[in-house]
């Protein structure tokens, strides 16, 4: 009968993308690391 997929530690109802905090295929929790981000060049104010 398969498994209850909500028990795999992924918030399947999240409005955010899951991949940004995907820790690993073995982990039941999101990654604690800062997710990937990039700030545009123009954010570097003089």
């Amino acid at each position: 009968l398969g498994i209850d997929l909500t028990s795999l530690g992924l918030n399947l109802n999240s409005t955010e993308n899951l991949h940004k905090t995907f820790a690993s295929p073995w982990s039941n929790e999101p990654s604690k690391d800062d997710p990937e981000f990039s700030v545009p060049q123009c954010y570097y104010a003089k």
Binding site: L1, G2, I3, D4, L5, L8, G9, L10, L12, S14, N17, L18, H19, K20, T21, F22, S24, P25, W26, S31, P35, E36, S38
Partner: protein
């Protein structure tokens, strides 16, 4: 001589110097670029055999240091609880050297830079393959895992001079991971899946340059599913296999949530490699639908499927649907039959036999039938029939030819063959599109037209086994089953098989309730 001991000593000395640059001067840009220029000027970065030996020796030194540190720490470990953590210091230094070489490479045109990257990747892959052959079960994947993690974090975040720069790096990784796939190096499987699904890699390969990275991701997913297939087929989910299986489910759920169109467009490929016993995993893929689509609740009373705007749209299918037909030299015959407008029973009886595999293949495939060929025949025939139906002025006569083929196969195939045939149809019951519409009609037509209860029972079984597993359930499957049990013309509730045992009777009642 790049094979001599002198050369090895020279490489070791150069590596020590690099360590100084990193550790002592804090790897500032000037020191790094000067060091890279020095390597370049001494001819070590030409991409020839010397280059190959240079990076192979560096990798061997780095891995050896990591493994020896692990042995020391495990020697020192008093109790198994103390996690043996190897030192990644030298591996990190080596990864940084490769990153610096690509960042400060003196030749500015990116082609030579990426030629060098592919060379370094090739050296790394060959080294891992050789290490795996030598060490077999005692291969230590963690140094290589760490090396690739460093590169994924550094190289994939190289600010793209153009997207192309990023895309070339990503495809270099994809090709390397394909060469290191579990069927080739099973002892690297867990590290492999964690690298392939890494958030600095997979999402980028799916988004940089539009959909150009999708074929690479599809190939990697097929690599994984092909490795799992023999274990899943026999439902042998012991310890490590179960961990790998759950890891695969997590990756598929991330794809379902963030990149559903990718799963939609390659569903046909994945259904070829997911064993028919693996119902829930296949449902994940078949439940995906385009993000901009809103699915009406299947249990809405009097839901008019035919009036849904999307129901007349053809789904996007990136897989090569007719590949198996062509590989078995059957495509032309099928096309000829479909355009012949006559019921050629000889063709059909031969067709049935061609769906079998040779007895020697049967044991390895775990079935007497060529499942990809059945999948290809069903979907290709359906697509031709839909096309003919849509072409103005068609009487639909040819469509009757397709119906006749489906009906013939449902009657003439044995239980196993018919199960796989019905599965091929059920695999098209997905989100609202004209394939879902057509194959939902076919499934119900076969139920209605069959004069053998065993066929009706098997159709019910194929639908039901996909419904009683844990969610998700594909939309097209739900609307087909609801139609079957609600529309009196199918006389569903009169059949004895729904009362063949008390728990089956209860099951149908609960499914009927849950379907509203």
């Amino acid at each position: 001589e790049s094979g001599s001991t002198d050369f090895r000593k020279r490489v070791s000395t150069l590596f020590k110097n690099w360590y100084q640059v990193c550790e002592v001067s804090g790897a500032n840009e000037t020191a790094c670029s000067e060091y890279v220029l020095h390597l370049y000027q001494t001819g070590l970065l030409k991409g020839d055999d010397t280059t190959e030996s240079f990076f192979r020796i560096l990798l061997e030194l780095s891995v050896a240091h990591c493994i020896s540190s692990e042995e020391i720490s495990s020697g020192a470990v008093q109790s198994p609880q103390q996690a043996q953590s190897p030192s990644f210091l030298i591996i990190d230094i080596f990864a940084k050297l490769v990153f610096s070489i690509l960042k400060y490479f003196p030749e500015q045109e990116s082609s030579s830079k990426f030629f060098l990257l592919s060379e370094i990747m090739a050296v790394t892959v060959r080294s891992i393959q050789k290490d795996a052959e030598d060490k077999k079960a005692s291969l230590s994947p963690r140094p290589y895992f760490r090396l690739f993690i460093n590169w994924l974090l550094d190289l994939c975040s190289l600010d793209p001079v153009t997207d192309g720069a990023n895309f070339q790096v990503l495809t270099a990784f994809a090709n390397a991971f394909h060469a290191l796939q579990p069927l080739k190096i099973p002892a690297f499987s867990f590290a492999w899946l964690e690298l392939v699904s890494h958030r600095s890699f997979l999402p980028k390969l799916l988004t940089v340059n539009g959909q150009k990275g999708w074929p690479y991701v599809q190939r990697l997913l097929v690599d994984l599913l092909q490795f799992l297939e023999p274990f899943l087929r026999n439902a042998e989910l012991g310890g490590p296999v179960h961990i790998l299986y759950k890891g695969t489910l997590r990756v598929l759920l991330v794809l379902l949530h963030d990149f559903p169109e990718f799963l939609c467009d390659y569903h046909f490929t994945f259904c070829d490699v997911i064993p028919s016993s693996c119902v829930q995993m296949r449902n994940i893929i078949l439940s995906s639908f385009p993000r901009n689509m809103r699915l009406p609740d299947p249990s809405t009373p009097n839901l008019k499927i035919d009036l849904l705007p999307e129901i007349v749209e053809a789904p996007c299918i990136l897989s090569e649907v007719d590949a198996a037909l062509k590989a078995n030299q059957m495509k032309n015959d099928v096309e000829e039959y479909l355009t012949s407008r006559q019921h050629d029973t000889t063709f059909l009886s031969e067709l049935k036999l061609k769906l079998l595999v040779s007895s020697s293949e049967a044991s390895s495939a775990g079935t007497r039938y060529n499942v990809p060929l059945i999948n290809s025949l069903v979907l290709y025939t359906g697509m031709q029939a839909i096309q003919q139906l849509q072409q103005a002025g068609e009487t639909g006569a040819q469509n009757v030819v397709a119906l006749h083929m489906f009906k013939y196969l449902s009657v003439e195939l044995d239980t196993e063959g018919r199960y796989l045939f019905l599965n091929a149809i059920a695999n098209q019951l997905r989100y609202p599109n004209n394939h879902t519409h057509y194959f939902s009609f076919i499934m119900l037509y076969l139920f209605l037209e069959s004069d053998q209860v065993v066929i009706q029972e098997q159709i019910t079984r194929v639908l039901l086994e996909r419904l009683i597993v844990n969610r998700p359930h594909p939309w097209g499957l739900l609307i087909t089953f609801i139609e079957l049990i609600k529309n009196p013309r199918y006389g569903f509730w009169k059949h004895g098989f729904i009362r063949c045992a008390p728990e089956i009777e209860k099951l149908f009642e609960s499914v009927a309730r849950s379907c509203g």
